[in-house]
Symmetry: C2
Subunit: 588 residues, 2 copies
């Protein structure tokens, strides 16, 4: 497997022209992070991804993490790579300066996250989960808890986990049964959690678990769940590491992919009770967890993009080298990149990757603007768009990510099925992304039943208006490529608009049955919109070169070859599931 | 992983009402195989698949095949299962009675093949490859070769392999370098072949390799390739097993899936030359191989269907048991089968599986009619349809098979990513089917550049005419479901017709660039046509029951939720790859 090379020029183009990096850097919160800092961060992150993380991706997959008597031992090289990650300041990049973080924009964190995940998705999950835990603690923890835990967590010397799922409580967290019993200044936690990413490992000094649990007298359902902080090692009053807590990894899952990311069954309280501290208010745990869930979902969407980019690089490199047969209209034996069907596959990959990247960075910038823009209306507008687009980013990018990783296998032919080639690992790794942090079905339900109806659909209406402006600008632009873009984008927008109107009045069960197709429709059209913006931006720059010309070609390819899915999905959505209820369960 | 249960009622329905089993059984060649024989065969095959093959599917995946000093040793239970397979007569089911076969119709062999592959795809590859070798030998071998090898191969006591691929010769067989040097009454073969399915194993007494190789003075390219029979053990004049031949497994591939199917690197002639016998004419080896390639491709298409059925059964069973959250409009906590999005996923799986099954059986019956029908015009018509639909069956069913196996993972949520659940194995196993026996790109090129143009497109024109008749019949039928079916089917047919007209005059490179989407379009519309036929047949039967009503509902679901892809694909096809050539290779 060749090492990952960050596509810096593509990333910078998307940052500048689609996400509005300058507007983010102009926010008062980022006064110290100028364009030069941003540039240096990207350069160094790219080096770290290529030089340190990428070489461990294949070996980590083959070796996996192992459970020993002393706990989980990560694959060779991972602990050292994580040490370097912390020492180089990558863990603290976007962290709150009040607790030692560097306070860089979320947008830059998004780009770095793409790089970490392209280079080594199993590795990248550890800091991703830690960031989520930090955000939940920062938003809801007491000052004492924050002072004790945040500095080390933001520095990365301590990592964080999210303990939500139990065997009977997957998507349905109302069914959580883990218990928390008051015991002086803390609680004693007992119960079992499953699917805990990086739940135990030997790559950091301490692990801070955030755990959903119930008090004995708590109300049933979601309104009786509280959030607790349960450290692997207790922390002494002086901040030093104290006794081992009653929280251990009981077993590791044997998974399809991300083998180097230990997925733990966590046992709390087998020795009488794990010491835990309440985070936020009693019985508000689920709300507190939702604070970080949007961000976690955005980051998983970035994983879909990232694994697609990795799969693409590998397929492209193979197609540049591999020679098979002759090519219509070409002399000699050119590499298979020139076969029309291989070129179609690569362009299908690349055009969608660029669309996904634009969407991920747009949301990444909106998060910064929503938090830090001085104008309240702008903050509100950006926050509404973030909320609307988060399930789209998560669901669409991860579903397309799997498709692209699968195309990456296909480009390799028979070699793609051989594990040593590496293409199959990307497919295996990619397959978790549409599942964890809420399946695509959960994202789609969030989109159609919660996000879309907010403020009578104002966020989607604003998005459609912005898209129509872009389509109109493309139509006014000269050239066949722009006319193609304008035509298919306009059709896509109207398809999304009409499906949206249907969804807003549909029977709830029909809407839920159509929701995944609606989410995918929104993703494809958003991707087409941002591709068109990329083409318009590229055509406005001077001097023109092949890189800029390729942006226009890619947008036209996306319009012609991908966007026609939009009217079809709109038909499918509005066809609804009118016939589905008629099949008795026993005839499935 | 629950054991596979053959969906006998669905299979019989497709056999009777879509494939025309009675017409096949009425052929003089099958005078002895009446309806009762067919019924008994299906019942017994179902028992064998469930009782013997299915229980080995998971263990075979975990254990895999191993290379030892004495050759390849298959996973525990596989050798014994194969012995039973042979003893029960499953290997010889469709074999030529002249050499001891049972001479049953290919159509019944297709159904049995679906069962073997659903139960255990890795196991099923062994008899599948053997059948291919038998067909090539039967069509092109000398009487002496046939008398020596066919009886044991048809009985299954000897298995067969296909040795085509070399490291530099994958899709491009013109590049084959393996050498054959005349040496008395035989040839000495030297060279290395890769990706040889069941190339070595300990489950049969002998292995008969069919090997593509070149004479030293042969012309370059495809016209210098000859076909040789190279037995693992030479055969004495009395038919007994003789000396070990110079053909060994040099290594086993470590693959994404089908772990229990040994994929061998075969070394011929490391000790001076493997004894080989010419099959057919010198330098006509590729043509001879193509004899069995159509059939092998049909069988791989059946694998796509089969693995989808297995994945579906597993997902459905999980969805019937798993409880998560409440369901809109239902009291209590019903299993997740009732969640609208889960129902959508299961119906997406099932409706396409039934369409794929109908297509596979239709082609299976056409093969019998093409070979055995007394009327020459009928034979010609069926043969033309077989040739046209073979790449569609192979390409479409295997691509959709991967999608359905992936949906099967998704239905399981987080459990789907855990290997012990078994859903992930189906996805891993399924992923080879769009690659081997010619990638989807190769199938699509065959369809658009070779099959479609035959006789000025007469076969596709006849197919479109048959489809239009069905759409008209649906339109004449009462009821909302049939109106939905008629509307979407008619739109699909016109989409296929217009893409066909485009393809027939398109620039060759553009046609090849669009070919995979054209193939998928043809598959979806053919599936919609056969779903509609199923609905019409179901509505004509008495007494009506829920099983028949479900056929109508499934057809309507397919029309409404799957067929809208057809107009989109037609747009994509005709959009062509007009922009693709403009991107320089270095900007990929």
């Amino acid at each position: 497997m060749a090492d990952y090379i960050a596509p810096l020029r593509d990333m910078r183009f998307a940052l500048q022209h689609l996400a509005g990096l300058d507007a983010v850097l102009a926010l008062p919160a980022f006064a110290e992070a100028g364009g030069e800092v941003a540039d240096a961060v990207l350069e160094e992150a790219a080096k770290f991804a290529t030089g340190v993380l990428s070489p461990l991706n294949g070996s980590g997959d083959r070796e996996g993490a192992k459970l020993t008597e002393g706990g989980v031992v990560v694959a060779a090289g991972f602990a050292d790579a994580y040490r370097q990650f912390v020492e180089n300041g990558w863990a603290s990049m976007t962290g709150d300066p009040e607790y030692g973080g560097q306070g860089l924009p979320n947008l830059l964190g998004t780009v770095a996250s793409e790089m970490w995940n392209s280079a080594n998705m199993a590795f990248a999950l550890n800091p991703m989960l830690t960031t989520g835990a930090v955000e939940a603690l920062r938003a809801h923890g007491s000052e004492a808890l924050k002072a004790t835990y945040l500095p080390n967590m933001i520095a990365g010397t301590w990592t964080g986990t999210m303990n939500l799922t139990e065997p009977q409580a997957g998507s349905d967290l109302a069914a959580v049964r883990t218990k928390a019993v008051p015991n002086g200044d803390h609680y004693l936690i007992t119960g079992q959690k499953i699917f805990i990413t990086w739940g135990d490992h030997d790559a950091a000094e301490n692990i801070i678990h955030l755990v959903l649990a119930r008090l004995p007298d708590a109300p049933e359902g979601t309104k009786g769940i509280s959030l607790f902080l349960v450290p692997k090692f207790l922390v002494n009053a002086d901040g030093s590491r104290g006794a081992r807590n009653d929280a251990v990894c009981a077993s590791l899952e044997h998974k399809l992919g991300i083998h180097a990311s230990p997925t733990c069954v966590m046992a709390f309280g087998d020795q009488g009770g794990a010491v835990g501290y309440l985070v936020g208010e009693l019985n508000r745990g689920l709300n507190h967890m939702f604070t970080m869930m949007n961000e976690a979902r955005q980051k998983v969407g970035v994983q879909g993009l990232a694994i697609a980019e990795r799969a693409y690089q590998q397929a492209r490199d193979y197609a540049r080298e591999r020679v098979q047969g002759r090519v219509v209209g070409m002399a000699g034996k050119p590499p298979i990149l020139h076969h029309p069907d291989v070129k179609r596959m690569l362009l299908t990959m690349k055009s969608q990757i660029e669309a996904m990247r634009a969407l991920a960075y747009l949301v990444g910038a909106d998060v910064d603007l929503a938090h830090h823009h001085p104008d309240e209306a702008t903050r509100a507008h950006c926050q509404a768009r973030v909320e609307l687009l988060t399930p789209v980013l998560k669901g669409w990018c991860t579903e397309v990510g799997v498709e692209i990783a699968s195309l990456g296998v296909q480009v390799h032919g028979g070699m793609g099925f051989i594990e040593e080639t590496g293409a199959a690992q990307h497919l295996r790794d990619s397959r978790i992304a549409p599942i964890y942090e809420g399946t695509t079905g959960i994202q789609a339900a969030d989109l159609i039943a919660r996000k879309l109806p907010q403020q009578d659909g104002a966020a989607m209406a604003a998005l459609l208006a912005a898209m129509r402006e872009t389509a109109a600008a493309a139509r006014r632009h000269e050239g066949a490529a722009f006319q193609t873009i304008a035509r298919h984008l306009a059709a896509g927008i109207e398809a999304l608009a009409s499906a949206t109107a249907w969804a807003q009045t549909a029977d709830p069960a029909a809407a839920l049955g159509a929701s995944v197709n609606y989410l995918m429709l929104a993703g494809y059209v958003a991707g087409g919109w941002l591709s068109a913006k990329a083409a318009l931006a590229a055509s406005s720059l001077a001097p023109q070169d092949e890189f800029l010309a390729a942006k226009i070609t890619l947008a036209a390819f996306y319009a012609e070859q991908i966007l026609p899915k939009a009217p079809a999905l709109s038909t499918i959505v509005q066809g609804g599931t009118s016939f589905a209820p008629h099949i008795p369960a026993e005839l499935f």
